[in-house]
Amino acid sequence: MIAIPAWAWKAVVDTFAGTAGMVERVVFLDGVAAGDSAVDGGVVTTVTLPQADESEGHWHVSAHEMSRAGGHLRLYGLTRLAQVHSHPGPWTGHSSEDDELAFSQAPGTISIVLPAHGLTCPGLGDAGVHRREDRSWRRLEHDEVARYVKVVPSVLDLRYQ
């Protein structure tokens, strides 16, 4: 399971909402892996914004920019746990391009798609959460999502006022 701290999810949504122009955006969720395989999940520590070619209907990050966006992984011993990207309308499915050019095809990889360019402050429940299985990508049913990815509180203030 991938645990996304609430602050990290807010950073993702704020990043998308702060976009100048109605273009698709992408961020990567990096963190400490719980095991050697993508199926093991982990805890997100870092939201990485790559230098991407973004347009109304596409986004693309070159190999050179992926290399730049991955330097900190080795430096800090982190792993890329998931990608999040936006679509312009309400559709949060995976297109064939989303399938083919996702950051990883390793079974267990998670790809999250936000609707409406992320301008509606979407939560995970509004997103399409896709999981790479052995041979293809599969959209998780709503009641499955929490088994694989979850937003967890960043601060819990339990003091009596």
Partner: protein
């Protein structure tokens, strides 16, 4: 990479007596810069660098891409440049730690691009003009291509095909310029009796299995593709053919059809490439 793995970032070249030839094997350490995971690829000392590259892609679960970056971590030299060198020799001369860095492009799209209607007369004129210009250069005839027109928007080009063993045949390639040249022509392999699309048999080139690593990633042959419009039909899929966009296939900026830059000549060049060694494998059965 887990936190425990991260404690050991020493260069990791391993030699042992497992497998391989010439007295053992060597392990290449690959840091995948896309996801931060570290892979160890073991190859025989006398094997070429290409074996380690193939092993890497097998572990990644994907084929090589034209835009991938694979380089020695120390020298930054491009690894595939040395693909034919024995791995032991490569280590000695180029990359002593056998520590590589891998990166590749990523991308996505929200779905089918808007493919607007074109003025049929303008589309037909543009297609004929570009075909005439191509033929005027003499290149198509030198390559054994012939062309004839079915109607103002559709042409058939007869193209030779040769497999890796030198066996030759030919195919009929139908070009439909209904969206030309804002979009590329539709490409279909057609049967000569009807000029309608083939989806198998004599007039359909052998479709390599996806697991075939020699299959170029920029080209796909789908005998029956499930299009968004609910009308399954054959799809000859590459970035200079209309079906690629109608099927919402990947279109990175470096390969995408650009009006004014690309013409039907680029489309035919690509088809000719797939009908040549090492890609062409014969007719479909």
């Amino acid at each position: 990479m887990t936190l425990s793995d991260a404690k050991d970032f020493s260069m990791s070249t391993h030699e042992d007596g497992l497998g391989g030839t010439g007295g053992g094997s060597l392990a290449v350490t690959v840091d995948n810069e896309i996801d931060g995971r570290r892979l160890a690829i073991r190859v025989g000392r006398a094997e070429p660098v290409q074996c380690a590259i193939d092993g890497l892609y097998e572990r990644l679960g994907r084929g090589p891409g034209a835009d991938d970056s694979l380089r020695c971590a120390v020298s930054e030299e491009d690894v595939p440049f040395f693909a034919d060198l024995e791995i032991a020799e490569y280590r000695q001369q180029q990359c002593p730690d056998l520590h590589w860095l891998f990166a590749g492009p990523t991308g996505g799209a929200s779905g089918r691009p808007k493919i607007g209607a074109a003025d049929p007369e303008a589309a037909a004129a543009a297609l004929q003009q570009d075909l005439d210009a191509l033929w005027a250069g003499g290149g198509p005839e030198a390559r054994g291509w012939r062309r004839f027109q079915l109607d103002p928007l559709r042409w058939v080009v007869v193209m030779p095909a040769t497999d890796v063993e030198g066996r030759s045949t030919h195919f009929f390639v139908r070009l439909d310029g209904r969206r030309y040249d804002q979009w590329p022509p539709e490409v279909q392999f057609v049967e000569p009796e009807s000029w309608e699309p083939a989806s198998g048999g004599r007039w359909w080139p052998a479709s390599d299995p996806l697991a075939d690593r020699s299959r170029p990633r920029w080209f796909g042959l789908h005998p029956l593709y499930d299009f968004h419009d609910g009308d399954p039909r054959p799809l000859v899929c590459f970035a200079h053919a209309l079906g690629y966009y109608e099927a919402s296939h990947a279109s990175t900026p470096d390969v995408r059809w650009v009006q004014g830059r690309h013409t039907v000549a680029d489309t035919l060049d690509r088809v000719a490439e797939i009908l040549s060694p090492p890609y062409f494998r014969g007719v479909s059965r």
